[in-house]
Amino acid sequence: MSFEWPWQYNFPPFYTLQPNVNTQRKQLAAWCSLVLSYLRYHKLYTIDVLEVQESSLFHNKKIQRKLPIEAIQVVFEELRKKGNLEWIDKNKTRCLIMWRRPEEWGKLVYQWVSKNAMTNSVFTFYELCNGDDTEGEEFHGLEEWLLLRALQSLQAERKAEIITLNDSKGVKFF
């Protein structure tokens, strides 16, 4: 299924940061939603700001509109506040995108674990992300840094414990 752009994507004002506060709020919400669904569709977890500026996400060639860099920064700041984005560097040139927040991932993993009655089992990170057993699951293909955060949130809920196996990380579920 090809990516479905929202109606705003072809609306020229979408690419101008709106001065009216209420309008801007709606506009930014639409941008946040678009960014997350686009990255989810393409299974991207990190973004280079300069690169993404030229991608079809922010540049609609058909209507010849581009979201200016200042506005992109505003959108990213919104995402950061909502917990979906983390800057990797101080200069804010690269960021981690969590189109699903770690807590949400944790929930999915735990659901899978309980569904398959595998609590009290131990898994390596690799197994969870890339094992045959998890193929077809949404969290399959998840990058390890994100899985770690997901498991950390489960750990906080005492539903899991992160352990160090011989030369890799693993987790035990409760």
Partner: protein
């Protein structure tokens, strides 16, 4: 001063206050008072003199100065002594002045207040203003040189005649009135006055001509003629001036009423709103001679509300000022703007101005207003600034 009968002092060229002679302050027969101005100080060249506050009088023959308290302290000099004169603009803490350059003193001059002076000019310092009119009258007298044609003789000494007779007699009042009328008719024969007025008129006409030209592309000839004719029809017989109504609030009050009367139709025809700059041009064009300053216009417009007049001065966020009809409904204006934009899909300020028949400035303000209340949103690209219906809020 040299005593009468003794040898007068011969003075070298370049001296000044010595041109003055003591005078009685009485006008001679056939000498007419042209103008007088209070609050004047005399300078000998650049130096202050003891004649520091008095009335300066201009007659057809002489320039006189009389102390404001001691009326018997009065000095005069013949206009024929004046070579030329010039204005010296006011500065901070300094009054405006007229500098009068004089010929060297004659040998057989009557006694005066000064034996000699090192300057060749005097200054009249106008502490209570009036220098503009005085300057004008002095120019006229010096160009007409009536003293050469009208000979004067000493007035008959009458003990009952008080020193206050420097005030014009009934005969002089009548001739002054006639004189004033004559000079107003001849105002444009003074070339410098003409040039000044002409420039103002030319600037105003250009402004209005351009406006007409801009409209001509889209509106019919009929409408153009109508526009031109209501400009002409706005001639005002008696413009409210500072002289007739004083300055300050009373003046602005009268002005406000006059403005509303004059602007009702043009503002209505423009859709209920007109930029203050346009108002300024229209009113001054109609007034002709007694032009309004921008400050006076703004102050008068600010009084609309207090006077319960059917117009308002309105200032937009951008700082643009407009005069708006009270009956003018803002909601209607916004609704119609949104309707127009929806029909067209999107508009720029210029396009909207053309569609509605108003100035680009007002068109932009209207669109910005609609954006402010959330009915429009903007698309700012390299092509232009455009406004769209605000689908962000309506389409969810």
């Amino acid at each position: 001063a040299a005593a009468p009968g003794s040898e007068p002092v011969l003075v070298a060229p370049g001296t000044v206050m010595d041109r003055f002679v003591w005078a009685s302050g009485l006008l001679e027969i056939n000498e007419t008072l042209v103008i007088q101005q209070r609050g004047v100080r005399l300078y000998d060249g650049d130096d202050k003199t003891k004649f520091d506050l008095g009335t300066v009088l201009l007659s057809t023959h002489r320039l006189l100065w009389r102390d404001h308290k001691k009326h018997d302290c009065c000095i005069a000099l013949p206009l024929s002594q004046i070579i030329f004169f010039e204005e010296q603009a006011a500065g901070i803490g300094k009054s405006a002045k007229i500098v009068v350059h004089l010929q060297p003193v004659t040998l057989n001059k009557e006694p005066g207040p000064y034996q000699s002076s090192k300057y060749s000019y005097i200054k009249l310092s106008f502490k209570e203003h009036g220098q503009i009119e005085f300057y004008r009258r002095l120019s006229e007298e010096l160009s007409q040189k009536r003293w050469e044609r009208i000979s004067v003789s000493q007035p008959m000494q009458s003990p009952s005649r008080s020193q206050d007779e420097c005030f014009p007699s009934p005969a002089n009042v009548w001739s002054d009135a006639v004189l004033k009328l004559y000079m107003e008719e001849k105002a444009f024969e003074d070339l410098s006055q003409l040039m000044k007025k002409a420039k103002e008129m030319v600037d105003l006409s250009k402004l209005i001509a351009n406006k007409i030209k801009d409209k001509q592309g889209d509106i019919s000839e009929d409408e153009t003629i109508r526009f031109k004719s209501y400009l002409l029809s706005m001639g005002i017989a008696n413009p409210v001036t500072r002289e007739t109504h004083g300055s300050g609030t009373h003046y602005h009050l009268q002005l406000a009423k006059q403005l509303v009367e004059m602007l009702q139709v043009p503002v209505e025809e423009q859709g209920g709103m007109m930029a203050l700059t346009e108002v300024y041009c229209l009113t001054n064009r109609a007034r002709g001679m007694e032009l309004l300053s921008p400050e006076d216009l703004v102050n008068a417009c600010k009084m609309f509300e207090a006077l319960n007049l059917p117009m308002r001065l309105r200032i937009f966020d951008s700082g643009v000022m407009v005069v708006q009809l009270q009956s003018h409904s803002e909601d209607e204006m916004i609704a119609s703007a949104v309707e127009t934009v929806s029909e067209k899909g999107f508009v720029s300020s210029e396009e909207y101005a053309k569609l509605v028949g108003i100035s680009v400035l007002l068109a932009k303000e209207r669109l910005l207003l609609a954006e402010k209340v959330g009915h429009l949103c903007r698309d700012d690209s390299v092509e232009s600034l455009r406004f769209y219906p605000n689908l962000f809020l309506t389409q969810d």
